[in-house]
Amino acid sequence: MLLTFTIFAPLVGMIAVLLSKGDAKQIRGIGMTFTLITAVLCTLVAAQCFGLGQDEYTLVKDYSWIHVSSDLDIRYHIGVDGLSGMLIFLTGLLAVCAGIASLRIDQNVKGYWAMFLLLHVGVLGTFASLDMFLFYVFWEIMLLPMYFLIGIWGGPRRMYAAIKFFLYTLAGSILLLAGILVVYFTLTSDGNFTGNALSIVDITNYAKTAPGGILGSLGAMGATLAPWIFAGMFIAFAVKVPVFPFHTWLPDAHVEAPTPISVILAGILLKLGAYGMLRINFPFFPGVFENAAFWIGLLGLINIVYGAFVAMAQTDFKKMIAYSSVSHMGFVLLGFAAMTSEGMTGAIMQIFNHGTISGLLFLMVGVVYERAHHRDLNRFGGLMWKMPVFGTIASMAMFASLGLPSLSGFWGEMFTFLGSYKGGYDGAKVITLLALIGLVLTAVYYLRAIQKVLLGKLNPACENFADISKTELWSMLPLIVPTIVFGVWPGPLIDIFAPFVNGILAQIAP
């Protein structure tokens, strides 16, 4: 029941918030309490995920939910393995940080906290789902609160950003739904398939043995169809990652979203795209994946280099960080494409570490915006001397993001490169070597930002800035600690998802 409690604790919190007759302060108290409870539960879930076997799930619950016929049996089937356990832990971590940062929100407090908590139901549910239909439902639940959180509590162009986010993700969802339907109908009429045609576990297992893949029963048509379904699902997830050219919603959404929502967006929502690829897209179509590896690697390269170049040209601090996310998520694709243990390890480490580091970066931009009410990189200067604690944390976050060893960002990049160079597709070496350019470009835009914001003479306009408050510091600490700890000692992180990596590699690159 632990997992179910974890998923629905925020929902209980949401109801409590809605029923509360208290003032803003009390509502914040209720919201924060449930956020903390959720985080504790998430940690407990993650603690269960060490030492699992390959393809093994724990905390599994499997009940019939909507039983229409023996073919159409939608189940409440949840469970976690190392990968989802790690991401649930990350969700809890970021929920606390974003929650603390949300204490400053004073417009429509009740609605805000209700949406904030509902968002976590969607996220946690998606990570825990082992039934495709359930997965899809949680996936959609996540969309709505996000839409409102940007659209109501966002910046000046919030409507544009929210609608863009919503439509873009919805378009992706439709492709995902189409894919789910095709897989479902094919399998229900496939005599060899004995499992539940909506169960992620059953389909993954079937993909290992089925001749011609899970669409094999359709014969030649299945072989033609499979790449299309793969591509459709890939696009659905790629929108979330986001993968070039589907990334343009991200800068707009980030720029308009309030700080805590940017933190969740960059820290968690982008990871859902990568998670979907690992959980559904690749294991369902291992053969197609092998053929597509080059293109996925190429997209990773484009994300890294193109994202870095665009980030370099930004004058808006937050937009620069948003594009740096585009660039850094490219490493995830590059690592996936390699089909090697190092590459997969690097990609998944990048998923986690980018979550903590980008969360930290967006909190940092929030601190500056709070004081200056603008984010123009050219209108700061010398904040290091006025706000030394902030300056230290901010430069640490940026150095972590540019991959300085001893901070966690290093490992994802290092292992992605090591693995990608070994990659199993033609052209892997060239793509990897080209991606190395990203190392320099990243250093360029971060060091420029440090120089413009933190160094030089104190800009007179920043004369009155106070150093970060205790609350702001507390919102950052849960992210600073793992950035340093996993930077120095990446072992536990690798250990938790190692069985998953072995499992998926056995699936896609036997």
Binding site: A24, V68, I74, Q107, N108, K110, G111, F133, Y136, V137, E140, L144, F148, I152, R158, M159, I163, K164, F166, L167, Y168, L170, L181, P245, H247, F309, V310, M312, A313, Q314, S341, E342, T345, G382, L404, P405, M414, F415, F417, L418, Y421, L436, L439, V440, A443, V444, L447, R448, Q451, L455, G456, K457, L458, W489, G491, I494, D495, V501, N502, L505
Partner: protein, 669 residues
């Protein structure tokens, strides 16, 4: 061949690490902001390094200390280690690092006294020491790379220590980015080696290189790639541009990081990876070293800032060390690394002492005649200058001699020629600087009158380093013989064509130093004095000053414009990247996103006229949000809370529609 690592060796790293942490978190409460703690810890590391050196020398030739523990394991079972390996290379560098660091820390306690960020300065110094020792003691390329990047971070922070002045921040940024370009090359090398070896342990890499299975070209590429890391860090052509700017940092930093240790780490890397270099890679290394040694020496001749003269001199000398490695004599390169570390640190600290006395003036135009005011600084500076100029019986003489002889033995005659010319220029520009600084008439009477000798914390390190610049205390033969007699090196020596390598390869007694050909010995003896003589001839009569032209016009302007490299980078390369970034941004906003907007408008249109599903989700969302936008300015009230409830109902309703729709679809189809 491995011997168990003595238990005290890891403490060489732990001591300064613990001191740095205590100082960082409690510095404000400690007396003198904890500087004594940091200095003491480094002195402790020095003592342990000395013990380690003697411990290692007591081993049989070819043996080394090694210990490792698993750091983490990849899912496929590949293990990565935290390990320490102590062979001659490590023992030598760790003495250099801890000794120079201790002296520089002591020096800084006076030089930086009263600085508003004194505490932060000592923290970064301490951090640097730790990172440099990780780099030195590592038994694998991954740890070395980590130390490598961390010393880069410390260098960045310390160059920009006074970054209220944007020029200093600029210099720091330039240093970090330029070295990072070199690191890309190093990554290429690491990737190739890992791909073949499946490990980043030095012993595994040596073994893989010795029995290389891929093409030779690939191994050459790996070697040159690794070496490019050293090109960045050691400021070799064409990435040398950052080091002169790095002089923006406080002078003790220049002495420690940008003269004695971090920049020399590139040479250490090249020497450490020596067994993997193919002849082509070695040729590339030697050529880079020769071009750098000579090119930078010319530029040093026209510099007017005493720290800039020393900076170009450092670049030039690092080039020398690279010649040594490239010509198959890493022991000669390492020997020069050691001697250079001491005399160049002495020169930098000496210049720091002068700058301190001159109240932070560092241009030669304000100096002159200082020998009377600062006798200790002057005497030690002179000794170190003699060492750098390569006067007989001084340390630089022996190490430079070893490198030139190796170039000759390698039949690299043009490299020998470049090194030869650079040695002459070195003696010349040092004489010029010493004369303009310490001799003649004071050129800025006011500053001269205020100048006085520096306190003992500053003069003591100068004296120690000056003593270490005297050559007879080094036993060159011993250095070369024992320091590199591990099997991996011997195997590589056997392959390279050099005067003495045959001896090293075969455990034989090496030839004594005076066995060199007579003409070579005579040349070596006269090179330094000749350069000094020319310098005296030109400057001692007092008719020339720091601005006088000393070379043909074309050469003079080439040198004054720093070989046009900065113009190239700042005029073409950097703007090129910026323009690319700008066009990427334009493309993203207008083309990629433009397409999205067009599609989006079309989609909305379809949404309006199509069925319920679209109306509820798409249009409904738009309407609801528009409501909110209108009411955004309103005060929070119960009415609004009610409205939120409506939105929520809308949201849940929409979700329900989706769910029902999907079930319906599944059921119908």
């Amino acid at each position: 061949m491995e011997q168990a690592l003595p238990a005290y060796v890891p403490w060489i790293i732990f001591l300064p690490a613990i001191a740095g942490l205590i100082q960082q978190f409690m510095g404000k409460k400690l007396p003198r902001q904890g500087d004594i703690l940091v200095i003491g810890a480094m002195a402790g590391s020095l003592a342990l390094s000395v013990a380690m050196l003697f411990g290692w020398m007591a081993l049989e030739p070819g043996q080394f200390f090694h210990a490792k523990m698993t750091w983490f394991t990849l899912p496929n079972g590949t293990e990565f280690y935290l390990g320490i390996m102590v062979d001659g290379l490590t023992a030598a560098l760790s003495i250099v690092v801890t000794l120079v660091a201790t002296l520089v820390f002591l020096f800084s306690s006076a030089y930086m006294k009263g600085d508003a960020n004194y505490e932060r300065f000592f923290f970064w110094l301490s951090f640097f020491g730790v990172a440099m020792l990780i780099l030195t003691l590592a038994d694998n390329l991954l740890m070395l790379f980590i130390g490598w990047e961390l010393v880069g971070l410390c260098s960045y922070k310390l160059i920009g220590f006074w970054s209220q002045d944007l020029a200093n921040a600029e210099a720091a940024k330039k240093a970090f980015i330029t070295t990072r370009i070199g690191d890309v090359g190093m990554m290429v090398g690491i990737l190739i080696l890992y791909n073949v070896t499946g490990s980043l342990q030095f012993d595994a890499i040596y073994a893989a290189a010795a029995n290389w299975e891929g093409s030779t070209g690939l191994l050459t590429m790996a070697g040159i790639g690794i070496f490019l890391g050293a090109v960045g860090k050691s400021a070799q052509f064409p990435l040398q541009v950052w080091l002169p700017d790095a002089m923006a940092g406080p002078t003790p930093v220049s002495a420690l990081i940008h003269a004695a240790t971090m920049v020399a780490a590139g040479v250490y890397l090249a020497a450490r990876m020596f067994p993997i270099f193919t002849p082509d890679a070695l040729g590339y290394i030697a050529a880079t070293g020769a071009v750098t040694a000579f090119g930078a020496a010319i530029i040093a001749v026209v510099q007017t800032d005493i720290k800039k003269v020393l900076a170009y001199s450092t670049i030039s000398q690092l080039g020398y060390m690279m010649i040594g490695v490239g010509c198959g004599a890493p022991w000669a390169g390492m020997f020069h690394l050691v001697t250079h570390a001491f005399f160049k640190a002495c020169l930098f600290l000496g210049s720091g002492s002068v700058i301190y006395a001159m109240h932070h003036a560092q241009d030669l135009k304000d100096m002159g005649g200082l020998r009377k005011k600062m006798p200790i600084t002057f005497a030690t500076f002179l000794v170190a200058t003699f060492a750098l100029a390569g006067l007989p019986f001084m340390s630089g003489f022996y190490s430079k001699d070893a490198i030139l002889y190796a170039a000759l033995g390698d039949h690299s005659y043009w490299i020998f020629g470049f090194g030869f010319a650079a040695a002459f220029l070195t003696a010349f520009y040092m004489t010029r600087m010493v004369w303009l600084c310490f001799f003649g008439e004071p050129r800025n009477q006011e500053k001269y009158d205020h100048a006085k000798e520096s306190p003992w914390q500053m003069t003591l390190p100068l004296v120690v380093l000056a003593v270490l610049s005297i050559g007879v205390i080094y036993n060159q033969t011993h250095f070369a013989d024992t320091f590199f007699r591990t099997p991996a090196y011997q195997e590589q020596f056997a392959k390279t064509d050099s005067n003495e390598n045959a001896y090293w390869a075969a455990d034989a007694e090496p030839p004594a130093h005076h066995d060199h050909e007579t003409w070579f010995t005579m040349l070596a003896w006269t090179l330094g004095p000749a350069g000094i003589g020319l310098g005296l001839l030109l400057y001692a009569r007092g008719k020339r000053n720091e601005k006088s032209r000393v070379m043909p016009q074309a050469m003079q302007s080439y040198a004054e414009n720093l070989a046009y490299m900065d113009d190239l980078y700042l005029g073409a390369v950097v703007p090129g990247f910026d323009r690319t970034a700008e066009s990427a941004r334009w493309t993203d906003e207008n083309i990629v996103d433009g397409l999205v907007n067009v599609t989006g408008r079309g989609g909305l249109l379809v949404g309006d006229i199509s069925g319920d599903f679209d109306q509820v989700v798409v249009d409904g969302a738009v309407t609801l949000s528009a409501d909110v936008a209108q009411g955004a300015g309103a005060v929070v009230s119960t009415a609004q809370t009610g409205r939120i409830r409506n939105y929520l109902a809308g949201a849940i309703g929409a979700t329900a529609v989706v769910i029902v729709g999907v079930i319906f679809a599944l059921w119908i189809l």
